[in-house]
């Protein structure tokens, strides 16, 4: 285990290219322990690619990525144990029930006291009572809440949220925001990407803008108000388009 204990996510000069097309062109970013960082950016900015690299789903082309002190190059399995990912895809098996999905993931993550832990996380996301129903019978909002339960099942110190509110109606999005407030209150390290500037600013301790394959801007929430942030965002996005 190497790297700073204070930075749970540490990215230096990260490059990711698909063939000749570089999506990430030298990203430098750190997320401190217990911090909630919101990353915003236009479509195609590379937010999901960045999340895929951090979560070990895609190997970087160049640069250095450390998560929870483990270098991605030689500690991918250890990194996966430290993170929970919630994306716009639920990563669930829709023919299985919520309980069966969580039981499978609990075995894969060596979660102790599996049944008690499943009940705890399902109660927390308000799905206890529907635990035996196949996931395909759930609404999109319920599936996304179950995805959060799946991501938190092994109690990871780092949560990666890749546009978790995509496709949710207002009510479901509000419930998700409440849940994320709770997650933030537990002082986990959270990195969230979103298109929703207001929600990003509301939830994050710090916000960053990814544009043109680089971190174009970052600031603490206390230094910005919503109007100011919107202006800065459009200014950077316009420059990079």
């Amino acid at each position: 285990m190497v790297g700073s204990a204070l930075n749970q996510i540490e990215i230096r000069r990260l490059v990711k290219a698909f063939g000749n097309r570089a999506v990430l062109k030298g990203v430098d970013l750190t997320v401190a322990e217990g911090e909630f960082l919101t990353l915003v950016g236009p479509n195609g900015a590379g937010k999901t690619t960045l999340m895929n690299v951090i979560s070990t789903l895609t190997k970087p082309t160049g640069g250095l990525v450390r998560v929870a002190g483990y270098d991605l190059a030689d500690g991918a399995v250890a990194v996966r144990r430290q993170i929970g990912l919630v994306s716009h895809k639920t990563l669930l098996y829709d023919d299985l029930s919520a309980e069966q999905n969580l039981r499978f993931y609990a075995r894969m993550y060596d979660v102790p006291n599996v049944e008690a832990r499943i009940e705890t996380v399902l109660r927390r996301v308000g799905l206890w009572g529907r635990q035996r129903d196949p996931v395909r019978t759930y609404s999109r909002g319920m599936q996304q809440r179950l995805a959060i339960a799946r991501a938190m099942l092994h109690d990871p110190p780092i949560l990666l949220l890749d546009e978790p509110d995509t496709g949710l109606d207002q009510h479901a999005a509000a419930m998700l925001t409440d849940l994320l407030h709770e997650v933030g209150a537990t002082r986990r390290t959270v990195l969230m990407t979103t298109h929703n500037l207001d929600r990003g600013l509301e939830l994050g301790d710090r916000v960053a803008i990814l544009a043109g394959g680089r971190i174009a801007y970052q600031a603490a929430k206390s230094e910005l108000d919503a109007e100011q942030f919107r202006e800065v965002y459009y200014q950077y996005v316009k420059q990079r388009v």
């Binding site: 789903l57 399995v77 990912l85 639920t90 669930l92 098996y93 023919d95 075995r107 894969m108």
Partner: protein
């Protein structure tokens, strides 16, 4: 080298998950079974099965049925995970990628074996074969199925990032599994003809060697295959 017990627990968790999901829908097993049954029935009625040519045709018919039904199962193995978006969830779990390969491969072997268990008695009856040959036939079927599913699972993972994956899988897989199919057909024919083992020892060795080499290769290559 991963610790063996936790590693195997995860392998069997993947197998159990696939079995539970299949038992909920029974889509894959029923389509594999109906397809293999149709192949056997069509061949049975298409050829003039007199006593002298029955044993010549039967091994080929059996392995065509197994290969085609197996292809249906393999094409759903990783492609379904990809289409339903659950493949990333599986890849995010803190296990060596080889555990995912092994779990999926064992699941495929299990599903193909279930179909074989059902069609084998039907095959024996339709082709007027002796039940005395069943134990040896089962042995060859196990070896053939491991070879077919071992390579098939790797190829099924390889094609998930391509667009025409259902079409691409048989095109890529069948040329590679020719040694398995040939050995399995020759060994099955030898069992039905009651030939001495020495006559087909080379085919047996080829089948065992193919299973061992391609399992080891698939084990090593799977991590690279899953990289987008």
């Amino acid at each position: 080298m991963p610790l063996i017990m936790p590693y195997l627990r995860k392998v069997f968790a993947i197998v159990a998950k696939d079995v539970v999901a299949e038992l909920r829908t029974r889509e894959m097993l029923s389509s594999m079974f109906v397809f293999s049954l149709l192949v056997i029935l069509i061949f049975n009625f298409a050829f003039d099965l007199r006593a002298e040519n029955q044993k010549t045709l039967a091994p080929g018919v059996l392995w065509v049925a197994i290969a085609f039904a197996g292809m249906l199962g393999l094409s759903r193995s990783f492609i379904m995970e990809k289409d339903r978006g659950s493949i990333e969830g599986l890849l995010l779990t803190p296990v060596d990628r080889s555990a995912i390969y092994l779990g999926k491969m064992l699941g495929n072997v299990l599903f193909i074996s279930v179909v074989e268990i059902v069609i084998l008695p039907i095959f024996v009856v339709l082709f007027n074969l002796s039940a005395r040959d069943l134990p040896l036939l089962v042995g060859v079927m196990i070896l053939g199925t491991i070879g077919f599913a071992g390579v098939g699972t790797l190829f099924s993972a390889m094609v998930i990032h391509t667009r025409a994956r259902e079409v691409l899988l048989p095109i890529l897989l069948f040329p590679v599994v020719i040694p398995v199919m040939l050995s399995a057909v020759k060994l099955t024919a030898a069992i039905l003809d009651r030939l001495p083992f020495a006559d087909v020892q080379n085919w047996f060795s080829l089948l065992v060697a193919f299973d061992a080499i391609f399992m080891a290769l698939s084990f090593i290559l799977f991590d690279y295959v899953m990289e987008e």
